[in-house]
Symmetry: C2
Amino acid sequence: MEYKIGLIHGDGIGPEIVNEAKKVLDSVCEKYGHTFTYENLLLGGASIDATGLPLTEETVEKAKSCDAVLMGSIGGDAKTSPWYKLEPSKRPEAGLLGIRKALGLFANLRPAYLYNELRAACPLRDDIIGDQGFNLIIVRELTGGLYFGERKTEEVNGVTTAVDTLSYNENEIRRIARRAFEIARKRRKKVTEVDKANVLDSSRLWRKVTAEVAKEYPDVELENMLVDNCAMQLVRDPKQFDVILTENMFGDILSDEASMVTGSIGMLSSASLNESSFGLYEPSHGSAPDITGKNIANPIATILSAAMMLRYSLNLDQEADAVEAAVQKALSDGFRTADIYSEGMKKTSTTEMGDVIAENV
Amino acid sequence: MEYKIGLIHGDGIGPEIVNEAKKVLDSVCEKYGHTFTYENLLLGGASIDATGLPLTEETVEKAKSCDAVLMGSIGGDAKTSPWYKLEPSKRPEAGLLGIRKALGLFANLRPAYLYNELRAACPLRDDIIGDQGFNLIIVRELTGGLYFGERKTEEVNGVTTAVDTLSYNENEIRRIARRAFEIARKRRKKVTEVDKANVLDSSRLWRKVTAEVAKEYPDVELENMLVDNCAMQLVRDPKQFDVILTENMFGDILSDEASMVTGSIGMLSSASLNESSFGLYEPSHGSAPDITGKNIANPIATILSAAMMLRYSLNLDQEADAVEAAVQKALSDGFRTADIYSEGMKKTSTTEMGDVIAENV
Ligand SMILES: CC(C)[C@H](C(=O)O)[C@@H](O)C(=O)O
Ligand SMILES: CC(C)[C@H](C(=O)O)[C@@H](O)C(=O)O
């Protein structure tokens, strides 16, 4: 089959890790007889350098012409980052919020699980991890809530006041809730909806709509949890979770917490999907300016994001399985980039890791 | 000296643990020649039972006549809870939000640290905890932000929409920031201000005002951190933090995460202070309906909350030190309630623990 894939190389280590993911995709094409054509899209620093803006209409239009977009991380942490050419208020957050909205990417999926080979990197004690490890996925609403509400900063009687607005309507909640239940159905059939329903009106609406959606999925268990409690439970016993469903800001916080709980954030992928099958795929980690250009970054999160792309946007389940198995084999064979290295393993560069995994496909 | 102390016994295990804290306070009075008189105040379930409301004007007025208020936890988790007599929207959250506002308790202090004796309970690996353990305090703004913003749920063209508002003005931020810097000055002289300034206007104001306040405290280091990153760092390396300063909702989430990271939430106290020296003191944990009436709850968080009360509201530093030392001695001597029990230690009931600590004062 033929597919057109957008590539956003991104900032920092972004270009390095996207190249490795592309190697793996080339290998998939060869083995399974597909043709992928690639379109380079500008976002973040590269876009600011080229156009003065973090996101342009051109990038949005090109993205729409693709079947899916694969992205390295973007970020403006580097001292030399082009992000600094813009005022903070012009960055949000260097095009990422804009492209999510423009492409309708309301469903953010962030898996967090522990590779048995990487248990030693997990900050939790062995008895908490348990024999089976843990494996959860956060389904975060990505185009509503505080991130996209009205905001203003104004002086009232000489006192500066800043206001952000958290708004959700039932349709926004229903569509993401359905996604979460669909995903749970293919997993361990449990959805934990997370909110602050003892205080917020928006959270009470989340609880109500989620309960309605749950009736459409009688085979899936629904549990409600307060966000403060969830932040505790992720540390106390991450095994208890299967699918966590939550709004934009809570999802931001909890998914980063969950990925750190695994201890190997260099391994974690993410997908941001729209109503149909289109999606933007990116690693969960940042652009790591401190290790840029050293050929030591871990490309696995991006390679696994490419696997998610094969599965969710291109409907190539078998190929996605093959990429995931190729990553697993690289780990079993002892290949380790610096971030996940432990004694006795084979220290592996970014490009070597890409080669090994492409070879394994 | 003479002091008047309000007591809110609260729900679930609340009355049991407040009684033990009172024992310890009695012992302080005896040893140091003070007189404490107590006034019982109704809040939460007890208030709903007596008046139909979670909080009444009478409770607010009585509280104002006291030098400080000590509270057991309140909570409506029990199947038989009087909270269920009220619609969820009438509960927020069973009087707690109302009393915070009515008494102007804008500064919530929540220490999270590891007792060397209780390292085994900590969910983090030994190498992450480090030799010295960790000791941080979260300074959470408690009367602003999403919790107290305008909210509404309405139908627009047949679609239900719910809105909450996150608003802060510079004065609200300045006063809590000053508190955080004052506290840091007496500790390790580092404030980490946590926000989402790459997205929210309110967060950008937090960053700006905090930077201004920092100039008044040149001896204290200020660092800014995004909330998603902070949620990661608390798991990755809690040692890095001294004072975390943040807004209401972020503080809610992060302080619960931090207390779970210690692994012994039954040990953690909290204080909610107003502009002067008045404060409401309560354990960080909940009302634990499942163990109510069994004489097994851990009263230490409440006893340490009483110590905070001695220190912050009554200005009795020496007495506060004595209570903290008494708790430390009970631990060193091997006394353990069920929640912190480990092999070889002395299993201790709620009332025994109160006796031991009162005796140690
Ligand atoms: C960069 C930032 C705006 C973004 C977010 O908070 O959504 C990031 O933290 C993420 O989680 O993708
Ligand atoms: C009960 C609830 C409203 C409260 C809060 O979120 O403030 C509690 O979680 C706390 O942290 O004191």
